[in-house]
């Protein structure tokens, strides 16, 4: 909602609670949004894992097709993005589990944990791909 007032049923303008664009972005807020976006991406990305597994179970021909798609440059790009989403969501999830135990809620550790999420997820993803190419 871009306006702070909404028309109620009786035509009376009622104030709305402020939404996202009212606030200045902060690390905790941005990382919370990214956590949700990566979660949704992983949700649809499970189709790729399911396809890969089902293709392998279906036989060598279906598996070769899947491997060809995933091995193409666009397939690799999608898988790279998927790897980052998984790593980022994994680290973000650990952060939320720490918060669930009531720890690290003070200003400094709160922002430190949120920054750490992206600071760790990007190099870890690159490292994973270097390892993946090395073992191949």
């Amino acid at each position: 909602m871009s306006t702070s007032k909404a028309k109620a049923a009786g035509g009376v303008e009622r104030p709305l609670s402020p939404h996202l664009q009212i606030y200045a972005p902060s690390w905790t807020m941005v990382m919370s949004i990214v956590h949700r976006i990566t979660g949704a991406a992983l949700y649809f990305g499970t189709l790729l894992l399911a396809w890969w597994l089902i293709a392998a179970a279906a036989g060598p021909n279906a598996f070769a097709t899947a491997q060809w798609v995933f091995g193409s440059w666009i397939g690799r790009l999608v898988l790279f993005g998927y790897t980052w989403a998984l790593v980022h969501h994994l680290i973000g999830g650990i952060r939320f589990l720490i918060w669930d135990f009531g720890r690290c809620f003070d200003e400094k550790p709160r922002f430190m944990l949120s920054k750490l999420n992206i600071v760790l997820s990007v190099p870890l993803t690159i490292l994973l791909w270097i390892v993946a190419y090395a073992v191949k």
Binding site: A56, P60, F63, L90
Partner: protein
């Protein structure tokens, strides 16, 4: 009417609500090690041949861990997507429809993936 017992149980008129919250956290905790296992499996088998993947899944530990990751992942994502739907889709019947489709999607992913892992693991 709020009886003392219902207040202790923390349940409103819906009679449930904390189950999904708990399931989300439980599967999240389990998925910390399991998704690392999944990543290792995919890094090792991402570019593997068909025979290699079959051989990897013939190992029962590997197949069971992969199936566990799939089950925990599907349960986790089902709750997660339902939270997103409940946050953004308020109009009926779309909200209920989206939640039902979410269940179907999660079930299909789980059934398809586990069937595949089982078939590969049993060497059929």
């Amino acid at each position: 009417m709020r009886t003392p017992l219902s207040q202790v149980r923390g349940r409103g008129s819906a009679k449930f609500g904390t189950e999904d919250y708990w399931l989300q956290r439980l599967t999240a905790a389990v998925l910390v090690p399991l998704s690392i296992v999944l990543i290792i499996f995919l890094v090792r088998n991402g570019a593997a041949s068909h025979a290699d993947v079959r051989a990897a899944l013939a190992n029962p530990i590997c197949a069971i861990l992969l199936a566990a990751a799939i089950i925990a992942g599907v349960l986790h994502m089902r709750v997660g997507m339902q939270v997103i739907i409940e946050d953004y889709v308020h109009a009926q019947p779309w909200s209920v429809l989206a939640i039902v489709l979410n269940w179907f999607f999660a079930a299909l992913i789980a059934l398809g993936s586990i069937w595949a892992v089982a078939k590969l693991s049993f060497g059929m």
